[in-house]
Each structure stands twice: as structure tokens, then as C-alpha cells.
């Protein structure tokens, strides 16, 4: 009795990343495009002339320092969660949330300084558009930071409930990615505004 042996070739598993992480990156791409559009509109309008040159409020420097520091603590939280140092993680993520909130509050002071410098959302004449751009861009970034702080609060709760550890890092990792992104986005906007006043 003969035996037919049939050999079936192996079907390769295609390359893949975690779909949720990947989706986060795509979301980041959309946010980048919104700000790319706003900053290009800014440049185009500026090149048309009649443009009020403004000084950035000093609080922007302070807030930049705050949000940079928060990125460091965020990274610290991530690294310690990876090594299962629960207490350090708790401390670091709480610090991050506090710093994030400080940034949100600090921006209010920054806008107050702008008003003191007589930069308004709607100014008296054709040159005031520069101020309108400044407010709209920083407000929109601020709204995104709110969403970032909400994510931070969620992550902080999960750390305190001991749900984030080296075995279960996805949430914290995505939180970190988003937070670092918001930091880099602010840096970009800050440097952009500094160079193109």
C-alpha cells in the first residue's frame, strides 16, 4: 500500500506591530498635520507684511522648563515600572501629573502677560493678526495637553492599583509616547514662535 505524502508550504506570518500602539502613532500624525497647517498659515500670512512683532511672555520659558521636566519624570516612571519598582513608579508618575497640571496653569499666567503687553486675540488694526495666531496656536496646544493630563490621571490610577508593571506595560507605554509627543510639540511651537516673531 503506497502512501502519498503531501507537503504543504508554510504560510509566513506577516510583520505586525501592536495595533493600538500603531493607532496612537497615526493619531499623533493627525495632530502634527493640524499644527503644520497652522504654522504654515502663520508663515504665509507673515510674509504678506503688516505684522505686529511681539515678545514671547517670560512664562513661556518657565512652562517650557516645566514640560521638559515632566517628560523626564515620565520616562523615569516608565523605566521604573519596567523594573517593577512600584514605589518609584508611583512617585514619578504622580510628579508627571503634577508638572502637567502646572503647565496648564502656567499657560494662564503666560496669556496674562501677553495681555499686559497689549497683545490681544483681536487687535486694533491689520497688524494684530500675529496676536490672533499666537493665541489660537497656544490654546489648541493647551487643549491637547488637557487630553494628555487626562491620560496621565488614568495611568496614575492604574499604577496605584498595581495594574502597571513589567508584564503589563502597554497602557503606561502609550501614555508615555503621547506625553513625550506633547512635549516635543510644545518645543517645536515655542522655537517656531521664537524664530518667527
Amino acid at each position: 500500500m503506497a502512501i502519498d505524502i503531501k507537503i504543504v508550504e508554510e504560510a509566513k506570518k506577516p510583520i505586525a506591530m501592536h495595533p493600538k500602539k500603531f493607532a496612537l502613532w497615526l493619531f499623533i500624525a493627525t495632530v502634527v498635520m493640524v499644527f503644520a497647517a497652522l504654522t504654515s498659515a502663520y508663515i504665509v500670512r507673515q510674509s504678506n507684511g503688516s505684522w505686529l512683532v511681539f515678545d514671547l511672555p517670560n512664562m513661556f520659558w518657565v512652562n517650557t522648563a516645566i514640560i521638559l521636566a515632566s517628560s523626564l519624570t515620565m520616562h523615569w516612571a516608565y523605566v521604573s515600572a519596567k523594573q517593577d519598582k512600584i514605589d518609584v513608579t508611583k512617585l514619578a508618575i504622580t510628579l508627571t501629573t503634577i508638572l502637567g497640571t502646572a503647565f496648564l496653569v502656567g499657560q494662564f499666567f503666560a496669556w496674562g502677560q501677553l495681555v499686559d503687553n497689549q497683545i490681544y486675540l483681536r487687535g486694533k488694526d491689520a497688524t494684530a493678526v500675529s496676536g490672533s495666531f499666537l493665541y489660537v496656536i497656544s490654546w489648541l496646544h493647551w487643549l491637547h495637553v488637557i487630553s494628555g493630563v487626562v491620560v496621565l490621571v488614568v495611568s496614575t490610577t492604574s499604577v496605584f492599583r498595581l495594574k502597571a508593571n513589567s508584564k503589563n506595560l502597554l497602557g503606561l507605554e502609550m501614555c508615555a509616547t503621547y506625553w513625550h509627543f506633547l512635549d516635543v510639540l510644545w518645543l517645536y511651537l515655542f522655537v517656531f514662535l521664537l524664530l518667527n516673531r
Partner: protein
């Protein structure tokens, strides 16, 4: 005689596999049909909403065509529908005419051909054709539909408010769209438009993010990028274009909202109303056009690419031939996608922009003709000497190729910045984009419905009615849009309420009558489709598992695939999707799930080499199944 199969199973872990147990798990009415997270149900929700909007959009266009074709006639019989928008002497209100044109454009471009087309077919086909149980995130997918629904409700409400819906054209250029004093529709109607579009953008982005991450991360074993059907490639590029361009529209809308409601002047300057200057100063309306068309031009490809993908699939299947130039098709779609971001200023040649810049945009624009021609060439060569089956889906796909060609050629005229001075904002442009975008994509959508109806509803649509629908629509479309070229070359501007008031412009009255009559007939023909669609849903002939003898994965699912799509394991894929009429093969198609080892009679030499006994990975188990 005994047969022994040796399967080499790799112990890969597949995302979808744990969902397995959920298959028989029945939800209640609300979770199954309304707040469903199943991609097939969401696809049908998009489809039904899209059809609803297409009807409304079609009716609006017929109303303004009545005005253009029969300006003298008394249309007070429309009073029950339009109420105060019909003047005392039975004429259409001129402001409402502009509202009709605006809403027709908005509805057709965004609600029907973006949400209705991508929403339906990306949702339905991506998981089924790449072999996934569902989308990457069912929840976001559901959210995507409900944002679209909210957007639809707002836009629908705006049709009925007393000041009328937005009336500044679908491109909502300021200052017209920014100032209530300009036209009554720029009041509440425009506000509703902007809010509705914000929801629409959110919906579209959620959808696109999901499509991209599903295509990249959830393909079944063996489904490499070079084995993806062209439909998936097209949906994939479409989603990428959407992710990159819709946020820019959002930015433009945001600045417009500030101008309208918070007194800023991003887009407004030097405006006098009744001799009084407005407070707005220093803005640039051209800036809005740049932002708008940075979305606007990619948007036309968001509308077209899915239709091109659908027709590639249908033409190959129904010619019983492999698609000609699979890689060239992918390459040209990629090239089109890239180019679509750097040609936007061809909509702005006459805004006073630097002629040198104009010639750069002209060059980039004309280059689009190259990948477009590659696609047309490949469609025709696929058809060439095929065993063509003229199913309704096939007819509509061939119709698409025809419109893409006739409409694309006029793009080359318009793309010349000098000729565009004469043609800009005339009926020539209207003819151009209705053929190349409107009709081509619409035909792609209809083709898709006829082709995948059996998978969506488990029944067949009536073929004779489908063919009748095709011929009436195909002839109707050409009768409507072809004469518009002549009207446009003669210099007739678009978005004018009436031409007969000027002697110079009353020359083409008879042609306009023909166009309007054809438009009415074409709309009427769509009711054949509607009847066929709803009747077949309940009474159609039961569909076989694979009615078109197609090769792709969706036809390996049960007649009515449940939640999770495949009752057992997800099939693996071994070959590309276009093995039609392969020389030596037993049948004229070989499904993607058939390994090369089972088709020694038709394998090409390099394919035989792909059959290997030993896997590269030592962890893989060898399972021997046999019987005596």
C-alpha cells in the same frame, strides 16, 4: 490508498484568535444592529446612510437643474417641500439656489463619496480580504460611524432652518462664508455646517486610523503586502491621504470659526458693506484657499481611489484574467497619492498668484496624467481578450474606466494655467469633475454594491434590472455632463442662478433643457436600483458561497458570516489574488487559500520552489494527518 497530509504549523500567535469563542455569542437588538462593533454591520450602516444622502443630494440637484433648464416655468407645485423658498410668482428663491448648490456639493463629496464609499467598503472588505476577525478597534470603528451620524443629523437639520443652509459653495470660501451680511445662509446654516464638518472630520480620521492599523497589523498568515488585493491597497492609500489631509481642513475650519464668532481677521480684510468698512482687517482670503485645497485636492483622490480599487478587483474577476500590471497599479496609486499633496494651487491659478509659481503647479499637475494613464492602460489590457462576463458590477466598472478617461482628459486642459483663465469657474470645470470624480466614484460604489451584495446580505441582486440600471445611468450621465463642456468653453460661469437675464448668456437654453431633462431621467433610473437593492435584500435568490468564482478570502466565509467572520481558524494565504485562467489549472480560478503544493499542474518554476518541507523556524511542529 492512504493519503497523508503533512502540515507545518507555525505556532504563531494571532491577534484575532482569542476572539474565537465569542462567535456564537448573540447580542440583543441594540448591540447587534445599532451600537454594533462588528465591521460588517458598521459597513451596512454607512451604506444605508450613504444611500439616504445620495437620494437627498440627487433631489437637490434636480431642483436647481429645473431652474437652469426651465427658468420660465412655474414651480409652485414644489411649495409643500420648499415652502417659503418658492417666491410668490412660483420661482426658486435665488439665495436658496445657492444653498442648493452648496449642499449638493457638500453632501455628494463628503457624505456620499467619502463616508458612504470608504465607510462601506473599507469597513466591509478590509477584515474580510486580509483575513482578520474584525478591525483593530471595534469600538473606535463604532465611534466613527456615530460621529458620522451626528454630523449627518446636524447637516440635515441645517436644511430646514429658516435662514437656510450654508450657501457659500462646498468650498466655503470666506468672506462669503464668514459674513452673515453676505448671504443669509452664512448665519446659523454655516455654523451648523462647520460643526457638522468637525464631527465628520473626527469620524473620517477615526475610520482611517483604524483602516491603516488593521491593514498593517492584522493580516492573516501568508498575507504579505504583495498578496493583498488591489482593493485593500486602494483603501490603504486612501486612509493615509485622509490622515494627512483632513487635519488641515480642520485647521482651516478652526480659523474660520474664530473669524466668524470671535472677531479675528485671519481671512478677512478691507471689506465694505453698504459703504461702511468692517472692523476686520489684515486677513487674507487666499490663505483660506491654500488651506482648503491642501485638503481639497487630496480629497478628490480620497473619493476616487477606493472606486479604482473596487473596479480593479471586479474587472480582473469578470475578465477571468489576472490584473495586468499588479505592481504598476500599486505604484501608480502611490505616485498619485504623493502627487495629490503638491498640486493644490491648480485650483487657484486665477487668484493672482505668481505666474512662475503657477507654472510649477502646472507642471506637477500635468504629471498626474502619467500614473492615471498607467491605470487606464492596465484596465484596458486586463479586459483585452478576457472571457468577459457582463455582470452589472462589471458594466459599472467599465463605465468607471470610461468616465475616468473622458473626465481626466479635460483635467489636462484645466491644468494649463493659461487655458484655465478662460475655463476657470465655468461649466467646463463642472463637467470635468463630475465625470472624473462624481460619476466615476459613483459607478465604483454601485459596482461594489452589485459585486459584494451577496456577501453583505446573503442574496443575489437581480441581474436584468442591474443591467437596465447601468445603461440608463451610463447614457444619462453622458447626456448630463458632456454638453456642459460646450457650455463652459463658451464661458458660462458656474453657480449662476439664471443666464436668461443676459442676452449674451441666453444662447444655450435648449442645451440646458436637454441637460436638465437627462438629469431628471437619470435620477428616476436610480429608483430601479433602490427597488432591486431592498427587494433583493429580503426576496433575492439565495447566494452561493462564491457566486463570481473569485479568489479572494471573503468568499471562503459562510454565506452569512457571523461575528468573527470565519467559524473555524482563519485561512492562511499562499498566493496572490489574481490567479484567474492560469494555464494548466483545473478551473479558471485558484483561491488564495490553495497552496502551491496542491496545484503542481499549474505552478510556474519559481512557485514550485516555494513549497518547502523544512521551516526556517525550529519551533514549528510537524503535524501528520492521515487516514487509511
Amino acid at each position: 490508498m492512504a493519503t497523508t497530509d503533512i502540515h507545518i504549523h507555525s505556532d504563531v500567535h494571532h491577534h484575532g484568535d482569542h476572539d474565537h469563542e465569542h462567535e456564537h455569542h448573540e447580542g440583543n437588538f441594540w448591540t447587534t444592529y445599532i451600537f454594533s462593533q462588528d465591521h460588517k454591520v458598521i459597513a451596512k450602516q454607512f451604506l444605508i446612510t450613504g444611500i439616504f444622502w445620495a437620494l437627498i443630494g440627487g433631489v437637490l440637484s434636480v431642483i436647481f437643474r429645473l431652474q437652469l433648464g426651465f427658468p420660465e416655468s412655474n414651480i409652485s407645485w414644489l411649495k409643500p417641500l420648499l415652502g417659503g423658498w418658492i417666491t410668490a410668482d412660483g420661482k426658486l428663491d435665488p439665495q436658496f439656489y445657492l444653498a442648493l448648490v452648496t449642499m449638493h456639493g457638500t453632501i455628494m463629496v463628503f457624505f456620499v463619496l467619502t463616508a458612504g464609499l470608504s465607510g462601506t467598503f473599507s469597513n466591509f472588505l478590509i477584515p474580510l480580504q486580509i483575513g482578520a476577525r474584525d478591525m483593530a478597534s471595534g469600538f473606535l470603528n463604532m465611534l466613527s460611524y456615530w460621529f458620522f451620524f451626528i454630523s449627518s443629523v446636524l447637516m440635515f437639520i441645517s436644511l430646514f432652518i429658516s435662514t437656510g443652509p450654508a450657501s457659500g459653495g462646498w468650498t466655503v470660501y470666506p468672506p462669503l462664508s464668514a459674513l452673515e451680511q453676505a448671504i443669509s445662509g452664512s448665519g446659523l446654516g454655516m455654523t451648523l455646517w462647520l460643526v457638522a464638518m468637525a464631527f465628520f472630520i473626527a469620524s473620517s480620521l477615526l475610520g482611517s486610523i483604524n483602516y491603516i492599523s488593521t491593514v498593517i497589523n492584522m493580516r492573516t498568515r501568508g498575507m504579505s503586502f504583495t498578496k493583498l488585493p488591489l482593493t485593500i491597497w486602494a483603501f490603504f492609500f486612501t486612509a493615509i491621504i485622509g490622515v494627512l489631509s483632513f487635519p488641515v481642513l480642520f485647521a482651516a475650519a478652526l480659523l474660520l470659526i474664530f473669524d466668524r464668532s470671535f472677531g479675528t481677521s485671519f481671512f478677512l480684510s478691507d471689506i465694505y458693506i453698504n459703504g461702511e468698512p468692517l472692523a476686520h482687517e489684515g486677513g487674507s482670503p487666499i490663505l483660506f484657499q491654500h488651506l482648503f485645497w491642501f485638503l481639497g485636492h487630496p480629497e478628490v483622490y480620497i473619493v476616487l481611489l477606493p472606486a479604482l480599487g473596487i473596479s480593479s478587483e471586479i474587472i480582473a474577476t469578470n475578465s477571468r484574467k489576472p490584473i495586468f500590471g499588479y505592481k504598476a497599479m500599486i505604484g501608480s496609486m502611490l505616485f498619485i497619492a504623493i502627487l495629490s499633496f503638491i498640486v493644490w494651487a491648480h485650483h487657484m491659478f486665477v487668484t493672482g498668484m505668481n505666474p512662475f509659481l503657477g507654472s510649477i503647479f502646472m507642471l506637477l499637475t500635468l504629471i498626474i496624467a502619467v500614473p492615471s494613464a498607467v491605470k487606464i492602460f492596465n484596465y484596458v489590457t486586463t479586459l483585452w481578450k478576457g472571457n468577459i462576463r457582463f455582470t452589472p458590477a462589471m458594466l459599472f466598472s467599465i463605465g468607471l474606466v470610461s468616465f475616468f478617461l473622458t473626465g481626466g482628459i479635460t483635467g489636462i486642459f484645466l491644468g494649463n494655467s493659461a487655458i484655465d483663465i478662460q475655463l476657470h469657474d465655468t461649466y467646463f470645470v463642472v463637467a470635468h469633475f463630475h465625470l472624473v470624480m462624481g460619476s466615476a466614484s459613483f459607478f465604483g460604489m454601485l459596482a461594489g454594491i452589485y459585486h459584494w451584495f451577496p456577501k453583505m446580505f446573503g442574496r443575489m441582486m437581480n441581474e436584468g434590472l442591474g443591467q437596465l440600471h447601468f445603461w440608463l445611468t451610463f447614457i444619462g450621465v453622458y447626456l448630463v455632463f458632456f454638453p456642459m463642456h460646450y457650455i463652459g468653453i463658451a464661458g458660462f460661469p458656474r453657480r449662476y442662478y439664471s443666464w436668461t437675464n443676459f442676452d449674451t448668456f441666453s444662447g444655450f437654453t435648449d442645451l440646458n433643457m436637454l441637460v436638465s431633462s437627462a438629469a431628471i431621467a437619470t435620477l428616476a433610473a436610480q429608483f430601479i436600483f433602490l427597488f432591486n437593492f431592498f427587494y433583493s435584500m429580503f426576496r433575492g435568490r439565495l447566494a452561493p458561497i462564491n457566486p463570481w468564482n473569485a479568489t479572494t478570502l471573503e468568499w471562503t466565509t459562510p454565506r452569512n458570516p457571523g461575528h468573527g467572520n470565519w467559524p473555524g481558524e482563519i485561512p492562511a494565504v499562499y498566493r496572490w489574488p489574481y490567479d484567474y485562467s492560469k494555464p494548466g489549472a483545473k478551473e479558471d480560478f485558484i483561491p488564495q487559500t490553495v497552496p502551491y503544493s496542491e496545484t503542481p499542474e499549474s505552478n510556474l518554476p519559481h512557485e514550485t520552489k516555494l513549497i518547502k518541507l523544512e521551516s526556517s523556524n525550529g519551533d514549528n511542529a510537524i503535524i501528520v494527518e492521515g487516514s487509511h
